[in-house]
């Protein structure tokens, strides 16, 4: 009961923050935060709740950014339709990538997804007639039944419902019986298999769902910026969303959103201050978080709350098992 009320309280705080955001920060930055937050939550669905580190999520974010842009430019449909079309493209792309990638686990999964994302990058680079190659896809319109969306402040509020719907979908997935199976797969795939669940099929479905949410985020990002560039499918984008999730706290869902907000704000501050070395700072964040702060922000808060109340076991740090020898990786 108390936990439920606490949960509702946090929900209210989160919603209030989401609504107030464009008043607090420069509106285009607010939109960036919203998009990256949904992207990071989508990644946490895989990393935190299925135990799969995708290092190629830029493939889904970026392919949707391009697809959304193309639909918006060539059909003039309202932007939410274009974004959903982009998300569908990302999900379709996720099927072959997912089916192939889940044949390896652990660190191999990360490498394989990274490699597939790079394929998408090369594809986008070569398919100049459609994607514009290095120039990117310019002039993505913000169309919605004649409403004037040119003000980023206004557009934020038209984009926010889509982001919130995406976040709600992620929350529903995690709380569903399906989500429980995913967590079980993360913790003990062999046992889940023994219980008769088709582990790979669940994993692929999780990848497709995650890709769809990442696609919504990437599509909105493209509409918000008015273009889609190769940066969207580049490996640095995949890495950035991973660090956002780890910074916020793996397996906390909302932590990913907080991590995203924090990193976007820091990068924006640095850019505004004219500091030339944003990747330097992102890299340092990576190193410091991995070495000293593996629970992430929300994970640490939860850990402190729980140990103060002194009930139950404290949260283990995510993934603190002794590194197993590489050759015992189960091959399917």
């Amino acid at each position: 009961m108390i936990a439920r009320r606490l949960g509702l309280g946090w929900l209210a705080v989160g919603l209030a923050a989401a609504v107030a955001l464009p008043w607090l920060v420069y509106p285009p930055v607010a939109l960036d935060i919203a998009c990256w937050a949904l992207f990071a939550v989508a990644l946490d669905l895989l990393l935190g709740f299925t135990g799969l580190l995708s290092f190629g999520h830029a493939a889904f974010w970026g392919s949707s950014a391009y697809a959304t842009g193309l639909v918006a430019i060539h059909t003039g449909l309202p932007f939410p339709v274009a974004v959903l079309a982009g998300a569908v493209v990302a999900m379709v792309l996720a099927v072959p990538i997912g089916v192939l990638s889940v044949r390896r686990t652990g660190i191999y999964f990360a490498m394989v997804t990274l490699a597939f994302a790079q394929t998408v990058y090369f594809g986008a680079n070569q398919w100049r007639s459609v994607t514009g190659g290095e120039n990117g896809l310019q002039g993505v319109p913000r169309e919605l039944g004649g409403v004037d969306l040119s003000d980023p402040f206004v557009f934020y509020y038209f984009a926010l419902p889509l982001v919130l719907a995406g976040l709600f979908a992620a929350w529903r997935v995690v709380r569903s019986p399906f989500g429980r199976v995913l967590v079980a797969i993360r913790d003990n795939p062999a046992r889940v298999r023994a219980l008769g669940y088709p582990v790979e099929r669940y994993e692929v479905l999780a990848i497709v769902l995650s890709a769809g949410l990442a696609g919504v985020a990437g599509g909105l990002f493209a509409v918000g910026h008015g273009f889609a560039s190769l940066q969207e499918v580049y490996w640095t984008t995949s890495g950035k969303v991973v660090i956002m999730t780890v910074l916020g706290g793996i397996g906390t869902l909302w932590g990913a959103a907080i991590g995203a907000a924090l990193l976007v704000l820091v990068e924006d501050q640095l850019a505004t201050a004219g500091f030339d070395g944003i990747n330097l700072v992102t890299g340092l964040v990576f190193v410091v978080v991995v070495l000293l702060f593996r629970r992430g922000i929300v994970g640490t808060v939860r850990h402190l709350l729980r140990s103060r109340r002194g009930r139950g076991l404290p949260d283990p740090e995510p993934g603190v098992e002794p590194a197993s020898a590489p050759e015992v990786e189960p091959v399917r």
């Binding site: 660190i107 190193v287 020898a325």
Partner: protein, 290 residues
């Protein structure tokens, strides 16, 4: 036919870089269980080190070939001792994330200093010009790279098979638990092996300096291809990574002749095929699910 032969040669030369990098990646992974994302960044540092030696001190290619790999060896030792070592007991994913962060830092440091445009570097005069193979002429420097890389791989192979240290490292790479169970102290070799892998990346960087564009990003794009190469070869296998490196390089070059659009993505297509057909990699061992 002559075109094809020439492409095979090109492929072997780019395969040399894949092989040297994959070799370092494989020994590091075997000993530490860490997939070193920063491997590409150290390759880049090797190339920049070569450039800096010439630019700042007027020291040429041959000096670089002698000096740069040992310097990177030391850098590798420092990185292992200060950072990577702290993650020893954790999920290998953290090592991947850590070295990813290190990559971003190294790249951006170099970019701030030298910008993104490529730095010029000439092949040493002894290796300029071309060799006449009867059917076609081939740049001397490329021939040198190929011979030198193959020789390095063979030397490393001899080191691993003929010396006691090598046998221990190889055993630890391929069956770490079993090696420990035999009472061999694997731990004391971890740091030197990390340095050794980094030195190999640096060596590849030195070799790349006269023939590739020297830019801060030169390693990052390459390393992702090398990841695919080691997935194809089987990351646990030292031999497999080297062979896969040369084979992938060759196939890429041949594809470049017939289907140029495919050559960049071919390695990833191959990886997909290997995942379908033999998920453990061509030379990796299959292990059944317990």
């Amino acid at each position: 036919m002559v075109d094809l032969l020439q492409q095979v040669f090109n492929g072997l030369v780019s395969g040399s870089f894949y092989a040297l990098l994959a070799l370092g990646l494989a020994v590091i992974f075997g000993m530490l269980g860490v997939v070193n994302f920063a491997h590409g960044a150290f390759y880049m540092l090797g190339a920049f080190g070569t450039y800096i030696l010439l630019d700042s001190w007027g020291l040429g290619f041959w000096v670089a070939l002698l000096v740069v790999p040992p310097v990177l060896f030391v850098l590798g030792l420092v990185l292992e001792r200060t950072l990577v070592h702290r993650l020893r007991e954790l999920d290998p994913l953290y090592g991947f994330l850590l070295t990813f962060g290190v990559t971003l830092i190294l790249q951006d440091l170099v970019r701030r200093e030298y910008g993104v445009q490529s730095q010029p570097y000439q092949a040493p005069s002894a290796l300029s010009g071309s060799v006449d193979f009867g059917l076609f002429d081939y740049p001397t420097y490329q021939v040198f790279v190929l011979v030198f890389s193959v020789a390095t791989c063979v030397l490393v192979w001899l080191l691993f098979t003929r010396t006691r240290v090598g046998v221990v490292v190889r055993a630890a790479t391929e069956r770490a638990e079993l090696t420990r169970a035999l009472g061999i102290d694997v731990g004391r070799w971890v740091t030197p092996v990390f340095g050794f892998g980094i030195a190999l990346a640096g060596l590849a960087g030195v070799l790349a300096a006269p023939m590739r564009a020297i830019t801060p990003l030169m390693g990052a794009d390459l390393i992702i291809v090398v990841f695919a190469v080691v997935v194809i070869g089987g990351l646990g296998s030292i031999f497999g990574s080297v062979v896969a490196g040369f084979v992938v390089g060759m196939l890429q070059a041949v594809a470049n002749l017939y289907v140029p659009a495919l050559s960049q993505t071919l390695v990833f297509v191959l990886m997909a095929a290997v995942l379908l057909w033999r998920p453990a990699g061509l030379f990796g061992r299959e292990e059944r699910v317990a």
